[in-house]
Subunit: 144 residues, 2 copies
DNA sequence: TTTATTTCGGATATTTTTATCCTATTTATA
DNA sequence: TATAAATAGGATAAAAATATCCGAAATAAA
Protein backbone atom coordinates (compact mmCIF):
# COMPACT_ATOMS: atom_id res chain seq x y z
CA UNK A 1 0.00 0.00 0.00
CA UNK A 2 2.69 2.47 1.11
CA UNK A 3 6.38 2.45 0.26
CA UNK A 4 8.87 1.39 2.93
CA UNK A 5 9.99 5.02 3.05
CA UNK A 6 6.46 6.08 3.87
CA UNK A 7 6.04 3.37 6.52
CA UNK A 8 9.23 4.53 8.22
CA UNK A 9 8.13 8.14 7.91
CA UNK A 10 4.81 7.51 9.63
CA UNK A 11 6.30 5.47 12.44
CA UNK A 12 9.11 7.95 12.98
CA UNK A 13 6.66 10.85 13.12
CA UNK A 14 4.59 9.08 15.76
CA UNK A 15 7.64 8.43 17.89
CA UNK A 16 8.85 12.00 17.55
CA UNK A 17 5.39 13.29 18.48
CA UNK A 18 5.26 11.04 21.52
CA UNK A 19 8.55 12.47 22.80
CA UNK A 20 7.73 16.03 21.88
CA UNK A 21 4.82 15.96 24.33
CA UNK A 22 7.45 15.50 27.03
CA UNK A 23 9.68 18.21 25.60
CA UNK A 24 12.12 15.51 24.54
CA UNK A 25 14.04 15.86 21.32
CA UNK A 26 14.96 12.47 19.83
CA UNK A 27 18.01 11.49 17.83
CA UNK A 28 18.07 9.64 14.53
CA UNK A 29 19.70 6.76 16.34
CA UNK A 30 16.92 6.51 18.91
CA UNK A 31 14.25 6.76 16.24
CA UNK A 32 15.77 4.07 14.04
CA UNK A 33 16.10 1.78 17.03
CA UNK A 34 12.55 2.36 18.19
CA UNK A 35 10.93 1.75 14.82
CA UNK A 36 13.44 -0.91 13.72
CA UNK A 37 14.50 0.86 10.55
CA UNK A 38 17.86 1.31 8.80
CA UNK A 39 19.48 4.40 10.24
CA UNK A 40 20.89 6.09 7.14
CA UNK A 41 17.76 5.46 5.12
CA UNK A 42 15.63 6.82 7.92
CA UNK A 43 17.83 9.93 7.98
CA UNK A 44 16.90 10.70 4.38
CA UNK A 45 13.22 10.38 5.16
CA UNK A 46 13.47 12.61 8.21
CA UNK A 47 15.27 15.22 6.11
CA UNK A 48 12.39 15.03 3.67
CA UNK A 49 9.80 15.48 6.42
CA UNK A 50 11.80 18.40 7.82
CA UNK A 51 11.95 20.04 4.40
CA UNK A 52 8.17 19.71 4.25
CA UNK A 53 7.92 21.37 7.67
CA UNK A 54 6.23 18.35 9.18
CA UNK A 55 8.95 17.81 11.73
CA UNK A 56 11.70 20.12 12.93
CA UNK A 57 15.35 19.12 12.93
CA UNK A 58 18.04 20.59 15.16
CA UNK A 59 21.66 20.10 14.25
CA UNK A 60 24.64 19.79 16.56
CA UNK A 61 25.14 18.44 20.04
CA UNK A 62 21.86 17.81 21.86
CA UNK A 63 20.21 18.10 18.49
CA UNK A 64 17.62 15.75 17.07
CA UNK A 65 14.06 15.82 15.85
CA UNK A 66 10.94 17.30 17.38
CA UNK A 67 7.46 18.50 16.51
CA UNK A 68 5.84 21.63 17.85
CA UNK A 69 3.57 20.31 20.59
CA UNK A 70 0.68 22.48 19.47
CA UNK A 71 0.87 21.17 15.92
CA UNK A 72 0.83 17.46 16.67
CA UNK A 73 -2.95 17.24 16.59
CA UNK A 74 -3.02 19.20 13.35
CA UNK A 75 -0.66 16.97 11.43
CA UNK A 76 -2.60 14.46 9.35
CA UNK A 77 -1.30 11.19 7.94
CA UNK A 78 -2.08 12.61 4.53
CA UNK A 79 0.68 15.21 4.88
CA UNK A 80 3.28 12.58 5.65
CA UNK A 81 2.18 10.30 2.84
CA UNK A 82 2.12 13.15 0.34
CA UNK A 83 5.53 14.40 1.45
CA UNK A 84 7.12 10.99 0.88
CA UNK A 85 5.08 9.11 -1.71
CA UNK A 86 3.55 12.07 -3.48
CA UNK A 87 -0.13 11.98 -4.36
CA UNK A 88 -0.13 8.92 -6.59
CA UNK A 89 -2.20 7.22 -3.92
CA UNK A 90 -4.98 9.66 -4.80
CA UNK A 91 -4.62 10.23 -8.53
CA UNK A 92 -3.34 6.86 -9.62
CA UNK A 93 -5.61 4.49 -11.54
CA UNK A 94 -5.99 1.04 -10.00
CA UNK A 95 -4.91 -0.52 -13.28
CA UNK A 96 -2.33 2.09 -14.22
CA UNK A 97 -4.27 3.85 -16.97
CA UNK A 98 -2.94 7.27 -17.83
CA UNK A 99 -6.36 8.78 -17.65
CA UNK A 100 -9.03 7.10 -15.61
CA UNK A 101 -12.13 8.98 -14.57
CA UNK A 102 -15.92 8.83 -14.87
CA UNK A 103 -15.74 9.56 -18.59
CA UNK A 104 -12.98 7.10 -19.31
CA UNK A 105 -12.93 4.55 -16.51
CA UNK A 106 -10.64 1.55 -16.23
CA UNK A 107 -12.41 -1.79 -15.70
CA UNK A 108 -12.22 -1.53 -11.92
CA UNK A 109 -12.72 2.21 -11.58
CA UNK A 110 -16.16 2.00 -9.98
CA UNK A 111 -15.16 -0.89 -7.76
CA UNK A 112 -12.14 1.01 -6.51
CA UNK A 113 -13.71 4.40 -6.15
CA UNK A 114 -15.20 3.87 -2.71
CA UNK A 115 -12.21 2.02 -1.34
CA UNK A 116 -9.84 4.70 -2.52
CA UNK A 117 -12.09 7.39 -1.15
CA UNK A 118 -12.29 5.69 2.24
CA UNK A 119 -8.51 5.55 2.28
CA UNK A 120 -8.35 9.21 1.38
CA UNK A 121 -10.75 10.18 4.14
CA UNK A 122 -8.87 8.06 6.63
CA UNK A 123 -5.55 9.72 5.76
CA UNK A 124 -7.11 13.17 5.85
CA UNK A 125 -8.76 12.71 9.22
CA UNK A 126 -6.21 10.70 11.18
CA UNK A 127 -3.82 12.95 13.08
CA UNK A 128 -0.53 12.25 14.78
CA UNK A 129 -1.88 12.92 18.25
CA UNK A 130 -4.34 10.06 18.33
CA UNK A 131 -1.72 7.65 16.98
CA UNK A 132 0.83 8.80 19.56
CA UNK A 133 -1.67 8.46 22.41
CA UNK A 134 -2.39 4.86 21.42
CA UNK A 135 1.30 4.07 21.54
CA UNK A 136 1.61 5.78 24.92
CA UNK A 137 -1.31 3.74 26.25
CA UNK A 138 0.23 0.52 24.98
CA UNK A 139 -2.73 0.07 22.66
CA UNK A 140 -0.56 -0.12 19.56
CA UNK A 141 3.07 -0.78 18.68
CA UNK A 142 5.80 0.64 16.48
CA UNK A 143 7.73 -2.56 15.86
CA UNK A 144 7.83 -6.40 15.71
CA UNK B 1 -1.90 -0.59 -4.89
CA UNK B 2 -1.06 -3.42 -7.27
CA UNK B 3 2.25 -4.13 -8.98
CA UNK B 4 2.60 -3.38 -12.69
CA UNK B 5 2.70 -7.12 -13.25
CA UNK B 6 -0.65 -7.46 -11.56
CA UNK B 7 -2.18 -4.59 -13.50
CA UNK B 8 -1.10 -6.18 -16.76
CA UNK B 9 -2.38 -9.55 -15.57
CA UNK B 10 -5.84 -8.22 -14.81
CA UNK B 11 -6.15 -6.29 -18.06
CA UNK B 12 -4.85 -9.22 -20.10
CA UNK B 13 -7.30 -11.59 -18.44
CA UNK B 14 -10.21 -9.31 -19.25
CA UNK B 15 -9.16 -9.09 -22.89
CA UNK B 16 -8.71 -12.84 -23.16
CA UNK B 17 -12.11 -13.41 -21.56
CA UNK B 18 -13.73 -10.99 -23.98
CA UNK B 19 -12.34 -12.92 -26.95
CA UNK B 20 -13.03 -16.31 -25.49
CA UNK B 21 -16.75 -15.55 -25.51
CA UNK B 22 -16.42 -15.41 -29.29
CA UNK B 23 -14.30 -18.55 -29.42
CA UNK B 24 -11.33 -16.42 -30.37
CA UNK B 25 -7.92 -17.34 -29.10
CA UNK B 26 -5.65 -14.28 -28.78
CA UNK B 27 -1.90 -14.02 -29.24
CA UNK B 28 0.56 -12.43 -26.87
CA UNK B 29 1.15 -9.78 -29.50
CA UNK B 30 -2.51 -8.87 -29.73
CA UNK B 31 -2.86 -8.77 -25.96
CA UNK B 32 0.17 -6.55 -25.42
CA UNK B 33 -1.06 -4.19 -28.09
CA UNK B 34 -4.57 -4.01 -26.68
CA UNK B 35 -3.52 -3.34 -23.10
CA UNK B 36 -0.47 -1.25 -24.03
CA UNK B 37 2.02 -3.40 -22.16
CA UNK B 38 5.58 -4.55 -22.93
CA UNK B 39 5.31 -7.82 -24.86
CA UNK B 40 8.04 -9.91 -23.26
CA UNK B 41 7.10 -8.86 -19.75
CA UNK B 42 3.47 -9.63 -20.45
CA UNK B 43 4.51 -13.07 -21.68
CA UNK B 44 5.98 -13.87 -18.27
CA UNK B 45 2.78 -12.84 -16.56
CA UNK B 46 0.62 -14.89 -18.91
CA UNK B 47 2.82 -17.91 -18.26
CA UNK B 48 2.26 -17.37 -14.58
CA UNK B 49 -1.51 -17.15 -15.01
CA UNK B 50 -1.44 -20.28 -17.14
CA UNK B 51 0.55 -22.18 -14.52
CA UNK B 52 -2.13 -21.17 -12.01
CA UNK B 53 -4.79 -22.51 -14.36
CA UNK B 54 -6.48 -19.14 -14.63
CA UNK B 55 -5.97 -18.94 -18.36
CA UNK B 56 -5.11 -21.62 -20.89
CA UNK B 57 -2.19 -21.35 -23.27
CA UNK B 58 -1.86 -23.10 -26.61
CA UNK B 59 1.53 -23.34 -28.24
CA UNK B 60 2.33 -23.36 -31.93
CA UNK B 61 0.77 -21.86 -35.00
CA UNK B 62 -2.74 -20.56 -34.36
CA UNK B 63 -1.90 -20.80 -30.70
CA UNK B 64 -2.50 -18.15 -28.11
CA UNK B 65 -4.41 -17.66 -24.91
CA UNK B 66 -7.98 -18.43 -23.99
CA UNK B 67 -10.25 -19.03 -21.03
CA UNK B 68 -12.88 -21.73 -20.81
CA UNK B 69 -16.10 -19.85 -21.54
CA UNK B 70 -17.94 -21.51 -18.69
CA UNK B 71 -15.27 -20.50 -16.18
CA UNK B 72 -15.13 -16.79 -16.98
CA UNK B 73 -17.86 -15.89 -14.52
CA UNK B 74 -16.19 -18.02 -11.86
CA UNK B 75 -12.79 -16.37 -12.04
CA UNK B 76 -12.46 -13.70 -9.38
CA UNK B 77 -9.99 -10.82 -9.37
CA UNK B 78 -8.66 -12.29 -6.15
CA UNK B 79 -7.29 -15.33 -8.01
CA UNK B 80 -5.36 -13.16 -10.45
CA UNK B 81 -3.96 -10.92 -7.74
CA UNK B 82 -2.93 -13.87 -5.60
CA UNK B 83 -1.32 -15.65 -8.55
CA UNK B 84 0.85 -12.64 -9.36
CA UNK B 85 1.33 -10.57 -6.20
CA UNK B 86 0.79 -13.31 -3.64
CA UNK B 87 -1.39 -12.65 -0.64
CA UNK B 88 0.60 -9.79 0.86
CA UNK B 89 -2.35 -7.56 0.03
CA UNK B 90 -4.31 -9.49 2.64
CA UNK B 91 -1.74 -10.37 5.29
CA UNK B 92 0.56 -7.39 5.06
CA UNK B 93 0.54 -4.77 7.80
CA UNK B 94 -0.08 -1.20 6.65
CA UNK B 95 3.12 -0.10 8.35
CA UNK B 96 5.17 -3.20 7.59
CA UNK B 97 5.15 -4.76 11.07
CA UNK B 98 6.07 -8.41 11.09
CA UNK B 99 3.12 -9.28 13.26
CA UNK B 100 0.13 -6.98 13.28
CA UNK B 101 -3.20 -8.22 14.60
CA UNK B 102 -5.79 -7.42 17.24
CA UNK B 103 -3.40 -8.41 20.02
CA UNK B 104 -0.44 -6.53 18.63
CA UNK B 105 -1.73 -3.85 16.27
CA UNK B 106 0.34 -1.30 14.43
CA UNK B 107 -0.70 2.33 14.93
CA UNK B 108 -3.02 2.30 11.92
CA UNK B 109 -4.30 -1.24 12.24
CA UNK B 110 -7.86 -0.31 13.20
CA UNK B 111 -8.00 2.49 10.68
CA UNK B 112 -6.88 0.17 7.91
CA UNK B 113 -8.93 -2.83 8.87
CA UNK B 114 -12.15 -1.81 7.19
CA UNK B 115 -10.47 -0.45 4.08
CA UNK B 116 -8.44 -3.59 3.64
CA UNK B 117 -11.50 -5.72 4.24
CA UNK B 118 -13.52 -3.80 1.66
CA UNK B 119 -10.72 -4.35 -0.82
CA UNK B 120 -10.69 -8.03 0.02
CA UNK B 121 -14.43 -8.35 -0.46
CA UNK B 122 -14.23 -6.46 -3.72
CA UNK B 123 -11.51 -8.75 -5.07
CA UNK B 124 -13.35 -11.83 -3.91
CA UNK B 125 -16.67 -10.86 -5.45
CA UNK B 126 -15.65 -9.24 -8.72
CA UNK B 127 -15.49 -11.74 -11.56
CA UNK B 128 -13.99 -11.55 -15.02
CA UNK B 129 -17.33 -11.75 -16.76
CA UNK B 130 -18.70 -8.48 -15.46
CA UNK B 131 -15.45 -6.68 -16.27
CA UNK B 132 -15.41 -8.11 -19.79
CA UNK B 133 -19.03 -7.13 -20.38
CA UNK B 134 -18.29 -3.53 -19.42
CA UNK B 135 -15.46 -3.42 -21.93
CA UNK B 136 -17.70 -4.94 -24.59
CA UNK B 137 -20.38 -2.33 -23.90
CA UNK B 138 -17.82 0.48 -24.14
CA UNK B 139 -18.47 1.32 -20.49
CA UNK B 140 -14.82 0.89 -19.51
CA UNK B 141 -11.43 0.82 -21.18
CA UNK B 142 -8.23 -1.21 -21.15
CA UNK B 143 -5.83 1.53 -22.13
CA UNK B 144 -4.93 5.25 -22.34
C1' DT C 1 8.50 -33.22 -43.94
C1' DT C 2 9.46 -28.54 -44.09
C1' DT C 3 8.12 -24.02 -42.81
C1' DA C 4 5.90 -20.41 -40.43
C1' DT C 5 3.85 -19.27 -36.21
C1' DT C 6 3.55 -19.08 -31.53
C1' DT C 7 4.39 -19.97 -26.55
C1' DC C 8 8.16 -21.38 -23.04
C1' DG C 9 11.83 -20.38 -20.29
C1' DG C 10 16.52 -19.12 -19.16
C1' DA C 11 19.72 -15.28 -19.25
C1' DT C 12 20.46 -10.62 -19.13
C1' DA C 13 19.57 -5.56 -18.87
C1' DT C 14 17.41 -1.45 -17.03
C1' DT C 15 15.04 1.19 -13.67
C1' DT C 16 13.33 2.08 -9.22
C1' DT C 17 13.45 1.41 -4.46
C1' DT C 18 15.88 0.56 -0.52
C1' DA C 19 20.08 0.89 1.98
C1' DT C 20 24.91 2.33 3.14
C1' DC C 21 29.11 5.22 3.50
C1' DC C 22 31.62 9.18 4.15
C1' DT C 23 32.58 14.01 4.66
C1' DA C 24 30.83 18.59 5.78
C1' DT C 25 28.41 21.48 8.82
C1' DT C 26 26.26 22.88 13.03
C1' DT C 27 26.00 23.40 17.95
C1' DA C 28 26.55 22.69 23.09
C1' DT C 29 29.83 22.32 26.45
C1' DA C 30 34.24 21.64 28.72
C1' DT D 1 38.78 27.55 21.38
C1' DA D 2 38.84 22.72 21.02
C1' DT D 3 36.05 18.71 21.18
C1' DA D 4 32.28 15.74 20.95
C1' DA D 5 27.68 15.03 19.35
C1' DA D 6 24.34 15.58 15.88
C1' DT D 7 22.09 16.34 11.39
C1' DA D 8 22.85 17.36 6.08
C1' DG D 9 23.72 15.74 1.90
C1' DG D 10 26.33 13.81 -1.99
C1' DA D 11 28.05 9.43 -3.79
C1' DT D 12 27.65 4.75 -4.07
C1' DA D 13 25.83 -0.05 -3.40
C1' DA D 14 22.42 -3.68 -3.09
C1' DA D 15 18.01 -5.52 -3.90
C1' DA D 16 13.69 -5.74 -6.14
C1' DA D 17 10.70 -4.73 -9.89
C1' DT D 18 10.24 -4.07 -14.58
C1' DA D 19 11.68 -5.02 -19.15
C1' DT D 20 14.26 -7.26 -23.09
C1' DC D 21 16.59 -10.93 -25.82
C1' DC D 22 17.10 -15.22 -27.77
C1' DG D 23 17.08 -20.10 -28.61
C1' DA D 24 14.03 -24.21 -27.65
C1' DA D 25 9.79 -26.55 -28.15
C1' DA D 26 5.24 -27.23 -29.96
C1' DT D 27 1.82 -27.10 -33.56
C1' DA D 28 -0.85 -26.12 -37.83
C1' DA D 29 -0.62 -26.02 -42.53
C1' DA D 30 1.64 -26.04 -46.98
Amino acid sequence: MFSKACEYGIKASIFIALNSYQEKRVSLKAIAKEIASPEAFTAKILQDLARHNIINSVKGAHGGFEINKKQISEIKLEQIVKAIDGDKIYNGCGLGLHTCDENHPCPVHDKFKDIRNDLKIMLETTNLEELALDIKAGASFLKI
